[in-house]
Amino acid sequence: MENIQTITRTFDFSGYLSILEISYILASVLFILGLKKLSHPDTARSGNLWAAGGMGLAIIFTILFHKMKLDDGTFQGIHNIPWIIAALIIGSVVGWMAAKKVKMTAMPQMVSLFNGMGGACAALISMMEFPRMQTELAGHQAATMLNGEALAILLGLMIGGVSFAGSMIAFGKLDERIGDVKSPVLRYINLSFLFILFAFVIFVMFKTPVAGENWMIYTLAGLALVYGVTFVMPIGGADMPVVISLLNSFTGVAAAMGGFLYHNQAMLTGGILVGSSGTILTILMCKAMNRSLLNVIIGAFGGSSAAGPASGDKTVKEISLSDAAVLLSYSQKVLVVPGYGLAVAQAQHLCHELENLLASKGVELKYGIHPVAGRMPGHMNVLLAEADVAYEKLQEMEDANNEMNNTDVVIVVGANDVVNPAAEEDPSSPIYGMPVIKVWEAKNTIIMKRSMAKGYAAIENNLFFMPKSRMLFGDAKATLQKLVAEIKNL
């Protein structure tokens, strides 16, 4: 490393900067192209690699060529290179192992966790830059900290801190370590915290800089962390994908603040790109659920949604395994509607087995995928793909609904809210208006469920009480196993 540095330092100074700038331009272009390619199924994987390449380029060139202008007008290269490389290696090994080992079902948590790391990184940068900036301003006898640099530092800390704390809570919720806290009071606490945060940033900016007086930065960090927690706490577990996407765009903005601070174009473009595309993605996800972003954040699900008919006098009908086996074997068209229960039970391979078994009997089995089934959009596609289910077997919601009248049997595997007729029939229901898979229009419906518990939206599902519905209680995997064995024995 010393050698490389001596070689690179023999270039004249303007050479360094232009090489670094060119590498940043290249990195930005790679980010943009990577993101573009990520939005098409055929090119998505290479898009990811392109973006990763851009990142590697930016990192290596920063270590080699970055220069900071000192007060005396000289330029200083990057120091502590062995430490930086050690940190890079630790982060790479841990990140790689964690990402490779995580189960497909735990993917959403992992994304949230990594997002939190980025937020924390941005917050730490601000915490280190603030004392330096304040000392510098105090040296120049500045009256206030009213400048772009201070704003970038404070906002970077605030947004990064909120993103970190929020992501950790989202991680805990998806991992089912943290429950939902639903209280209307929390809404007001949230709003006042947000107000205090912004007020505090403005207060700090109008303060006279005093070298060594750093309590403000720790206070701001603390406030941001608390707000991150109270922001995510009341939002229901089912809405976590939207929250993660939103926090993702927050982290992007926090990274861009760093870019603003260092006049670093790669950080600026990369951060803002994620900030804006993340916001759009968040809105698209909300649209897929037919809800507004505000509605998600305020948390309309649960709590007050006790509306709906009482279910006390209604009874459900169970179906025995052998009856289910006979029914399936003598059908022509079967549709499987998977939900989060399938992911939890890891039953995707058994679904595929059932599909093959039925195919050998001349029964056609397809999968009806609701856009927000599971814990993330596309969650079911990924799971079924893992079990080698062919792409053309996966039907989108509209196609599945169009063919519903001709479908003999629908098997609902661990889905609930995405097949709830209340979304169409009951205007008082919190999910009213959300597009759902109309499984009740099929000739028969078999619902595999662990219990009569409600789905994540915590509302009653009338589907279970409909005349054509039959319940098959038990863990999705165990039940499917028995069902497959039963069909083989016919």
Partner: protein, 103 residues
Amino acid sequence: MNELLEFLLEYREAIFIILLSIFLGIEVISHVPSVLHTPLMSGANAIHGVVIIGAIIVMGHATNVLSMILGFLAVVLGTLNVVGGFVVTDRMLEMFKKKKKQQ
């Protein structure tokens, strides 16, 4: 008012980049199928790991022990975001590809 104009002048390049990037981000994402929402979010998650460059710069100019420790931590966290983010995204997309080959 004067201060605002001065601010705009001083940071005109950054503001230019920010505005263009906002439109670019919106344009690039707008017509994405819902199947790809998750990998795309994950990929974007990895891209904002670019914040690691800031961490390297801070670490590279750290002089006292406290800033060394914080800088080290920042670089580790940033790397986790970058490496973990890209690897998770690749694992998700790997499954889409496997399926394509079989067709």
